[in-house]
Amino acid sequence: MNEILETLPGTTTQSLQSDEPKPEAKTRDEFDVEIDGTVGQPFVDNPKMSSRNCDVFYAEKQAIFDVNVDIGRNEIIAMIGPSGCGKSTYLRVLNRMNDTIPICRTTGTHTLDGEDIYAKDQDPVLLRARVGMVFQKPNPFPKSIYDNVAYGPRLHGLTSNRSELDDLVEASLTKAGLFKEVKDDLQKPGTGLSGGQQQRLCIARAIAVDPEVILMDEPTSALDPIATAIIEELMDDLKESYTIAIVTHSMQQAARVSQRTAYFHLGRLVEVNDTDKVFTNPEHQLTENYITGRFG
């Protein structure tokens, strides 16, 4: 993994100071590369989730173009790409969060364990309990730490009495690596925690309903490196029991935590490959441009 990191440009100031001519001067046509389907290995055997022919529109504007991809079981798949390329939009397709945006329209076939999640008889509310989400900015509810974690279990009636709920809250906080820090303050407001703790609280909240998939949209972009490291470690533990899709702007993070990486570009899925391959030997020209910092 270390070698990969060293080949990554983002960490070093080298690429900024290098004597190479400015990329855009040299490689205008590099960006006009045709995107013709997805290269690499977008499909896996026995996927946890999968999307076929996915288009997403915001009113008239199309944000996602014909995305076909599988998410494997108990893997962490990273989604990278320049800002505005539709990573968040695609992520929100997977738990139907886009349904809450009135102008947003999604097409294609999307399955969870082979089951069509956009089927007429699918209840998006129940789906979201199975496919949890952690957001870019920590967004604990204005409730106590305990109530934040208990929110989902109470909604879905997962526990039958108080002591079961207590146990579930404790277990979730423990899994999220937060229990030790807050065990005496469970009745204090969740909004009083530090940013990193809040984000772990949100993770605890998401795993309290025992989802099968956790979607994370830039979960560490509002956090400092130490809090980030804690959450990355946590993700590594979580993948034992969950499938995780993470959107990130940090290529180091993608390299560190994920097994597969998907590169999005202008609403299209350009390349999906094993993370090692994407960062050492990308198949597509656009992917290479992006990871070597020659984009944007």
Binding site: V125, R128, N139, R205
Partner: protein
């Protein structure tokens, strides 16, 4: 010069001073041969500084002078009166002085038959004249001194900008204190008059008495001269009507706020929100006759048809209409705070698999609660203070009842009836109005304190 002429001239002087100061600062700066870049502040600040120096001391002197001069002139006039007139009682002396003043102002001194008054009026006129002259001269001299001093102060290193900043700050402070002092003044006067009232009626009777009939007779030999001042029925009536009003306004207002902010699309919202707010703009007298002429008879008929005995003027009618009136207080404020709840909260809740109404109940309302409580309390104090609707629809009879189908009266209504018509100023009947006012004030104060407390506690918890 009369005072407005003084003021206008003073303003002209200030404008003049401004330009003078500006020019002077440029001249001072120019002499350093570096342009005016070495001025501490922009030239206009030196102008303001001169204007301030010229204006503020002069204005203060003018104010103080005007405040005290008339009483000084009066007492000087009185001391010029013959001994035996001075020996009169205060009131009589006041009457005489009024006569003399009127005489002096009317300009018909020559027509007066009483030579003493004639002389006094002339004396008064002369004193007033001297007073005005002296005032004018002093004010302008001070303004000019200020102007000259300020001009001499202008040097490149003078921090005119900071001086102007300080003046602006003090102006703000003074304006803020005016509002506060006015409140304090009103409270003090109400308190004082209430104390007068409590010398003739015991506070115990007022606070705990259950009979309100303030009719006192003017002559002591009339029957029923005592009057009774138990305020309990009034406060209960106020609470009853406010409670009915809040029962209407809180659910309806809150629900419409939720609908507007969470469910309605943009077009509906753009139309419905202003329409709702119009409710607050309808004059209360219109609500009043609506309540008295439409709602009260309707309720009465309705009650009769199901065998209930409803008074033709009922607390229910007044409360219902008042409830409609205060809906916008609840809905508008709640709508604002609900809309201000961050989208991230909603996303978080939806992402946990909550439905829309679960999200609203468990996340949005708690997050918006301080604002909602604020809106409700605003509506409540509005309801407690409302008069017109109650006068017209709830009647004047001070029944002690919590049955909304009967006629009741409220504190505000009784204040109105106590003070309308010719009254002696120091009869218990008139003074009772002040005591009632004090009661109302204390009630709303307590309400506000409670509200603040709730909000603060909540904030502490969730911020």
């Amino acid at each position: 010069m009369p005072i407005n002429t003084i003021l206008i001239t003073l303003v002209a002087l200030l404008i003049f001073g401004y330009f003078l100061g500006r020019k002077r600062s440029l001249a001072v700066a120019g002499s350093t041969a570096k342009g005016y870049s070495d001025l501490h502040s922009l030239p206009s600040y030196y102008g303001y500084m001169v204007a301030v120096w010229a204006g503020i001391p002069a204005l203060i002197i003018l104010l103080i002078w005007s405040a005290f001069s008339s009483s000084i002139v009066t007492s000087m006039t009185i001391s010029g009166l013959p001994e035996q007139m001075q020996a009169q009682s205060k009131q009589q002396l006041g009457l005489v002085m009024n006569e003399i003043k009127n005489l002096a102002n009317s300009g018909l001194i020559a027509n007066e038959t009483d030579p003493i008054k004639q002389a006094a009026a002339e004396h008064y006129q002369k004193l007033t004249h001297i007073n005005t002259m002296a005032k004018t001269v002093v004010v302008f001299v001070i303004a000019l001194i200020g102007l000259v001093l300020a001009m001499r102060l202008i040097k490149p290193e003078t921090r005119a900008r900071n001086i102007v900043e300080g003046v602006i700050r003090w102006t703000m402070i003074i304006c803020a204190s005016i509002a506060i002092l006015t409140t304090v003044g009103i409270v003090m006067s109400v308190l004082f008059e209430s104390l007068l009232f409590f010398t003739s009626v015991s506070p115990i009777e007022f606070l705990f008495g259950t009979k309100w009939s303030p009719q006192t007779s003017i002559r002591t030999d009339q029957v029923g001269s005592s009057g009774s001042f138990g305020a309990i029925p009034l406060f209960v009536g106020t609470m009853l009507i406010s409670a009915v009003a809040l029962c209407i306004a809180v659910p309806v207002g809150l629900m419409s706020a939720i609908y507007l902010s969470e469910y309605a699309n943009k077009n509906i919202r753009a139309f419905a929100k202003p329409t709702l707010e119009i409710l607050a703009g309808i004059p209360t007298v219109v609500y009043g006759f609506f309540a008295a002429l439409s709602v009260a008879p309707f309720i009465r008929n309705l009650g009769e048809s199901i065998g209930l005995d409803v008074a033709s003027e009922s607390a229910l009618a007044a409360g219902l209409v008042m409830g409609i009136m205060i809906i916008p207080f609840v809905s508008s404020l709640s709508d604002d705070v609900i809309s201000a709840v961050p989208q991230a909260m909603r996303d978080g809740s939806f992402g946990m698999g909550a439905t829309k109404s679960e999200t609203i109940r468990q996340v949005i309302i708690p997050a918006a609660l301080p604002g909602i409580v604020g809106g409700i309390l605003l509506a409540a104090s509005r309801a407690i203070g409302e008069t017109m609707i109650v006068v017209m629809a709830a009647g004047l009879s001070a029944n002690l009842t919590i049955n909304p189908l009967e006629a009741v009266t409220t504190v505000t209504v009784q204040i109105v009836t106590l003070l309308t018509g010719d009254q002696e100023f120091d009869s218990p009947k008139t003074l009772a109005a002040f005591a009632l006012g004090l009661g109302l004030f204390v009630t709303t104060l307590v309400l506000n304190i409670v509200a603040l407390h709730i909000i603060r506690k909540y904030r502490e918890q969730y911020e």
